[in-house]
Symmetry: C2
Subunit: 202 residues, 2 copies
């Protein structure tokens, strides 16, 4: 059985639980967090030298980190990764967009808003810059979803799982989705799928 | 033939030229850059709504963006992507590490150091923070390469291509590789491969 080292309310960790749920794979969780320093302890750093969650461990002890890398690993050979080569390429594109242009704005603005430990970083200039970058990322999603049901190809994939994680909680970071009706419809479409689990489900 | 929209001295664009060279695939290039605003022009935004290079276009007009997504697309079914599932997962892990923890420090510090258009952003606090984050990323690479010839699995892969691009020019951003002897040896190992091309090759 897979062991998921995670902080439960992290969107990056939620992505992995969502994929495991859609694939019907059993797993157990172990709580580790940057907020209490446990991701920097030696016993965790041997699992992931970058000291970040999510990290998964297989039964043989080997580990894999980076949320979107875990998604791709789990999705290979399943319906969560498009069979068409170009659509698979677009899936990769959305996953890297998520980690470079979406998560660093939307997830970080949420973290600076909700975690008292990080409130000192929430300067007005930083928050304004994160708002602008996050709205730009949401605009890119809106442009795609105004003309398509799913982000990559014509079916639900790990691209949707990855982008759902922080988009569905964007309001926690002060983002207003009123200007993104297609994104809102897509969020409801994802949440209505069989196998979907909310972020706060145990 | 593939068309590569690129800024020639960008490491992200260099990654794609390196992969195309190793795979022996013919391509043509078109110069587009954020420095002169051409990545924000409407005729480029229809190719890539995020307005970034590299972007590749296929003969049928369809496009693909995000450097590491292009690498994965090109590498599928070739020796540049490990055949073993776990090693492929580690390849994904290194590619996301590159875009989240390595490029935003090492490439950005280089850009703030070498492009006059970006010098105003190079405040002492920003440069110190980028130096620390970049050295942390280099330390993660050093830890792996002290005990292995290649980043993922036991052969050269797109993980090496991706990390080579900005690591080999890290000195331009003020990074000192003296503390990373295994990284230095790996850089020489990559550069000695048949099919390798330097970043300034036309």
């Amino acid at each position: 059985m897979i062991t998921l080292y995670q902080q439960h309310d992290s969107g990056n960790c939620y992505k992995v639980r969502l994929a495991l749920s859609h694939l019907g794979l059993p797993f157990r969780t172990v709580a580790v967090s940057s907020l209490d320093g446990s991701t920097r302890r030696p016993e965790f750093l041997v699992k992931n030298p970058i000291g970040k969650v999510p990290t998964i461990a297989f039964e043989d002890g080997r580990c894999l980190a980076e949320s979107n890398a875990i998604l791709l690993y789990l999705a290979e050979g399943t319906l969560l990764l498009p069979a068409d080569r170009y659509d698979r390429g677009k899936t990769y594109e959305w996953l890297f967009f998520e980690q470079y242009s979406h998560e660093p704005a939307i997830a970080v603005r949420r973290a600076l808003s909700v975690y008292p430990q990080r409130r000192a970083e929430a300067t007005p200039a930083r928050m304004a810059q994160l708002l602008e970058a996050g709205n730009r990322a949401l605009g890119v999603m809106e442009q795609r979803l105004a003309g398509a049901a799913w982000l990559a190809g014509d079916a639900f994939s790990v691209a949707d799982i990855s982008l759902y994680a922080y988009t569905h909680g964007a309001a926690d970071g002060g983002f207003d989705l009123a200007a993104c009706p297609a994104v809102q419809t897509w969020l409801a479409r994802v949440a209505a799928l069989p196998g979907h689990v909310p972020i706060d489900a145990v």
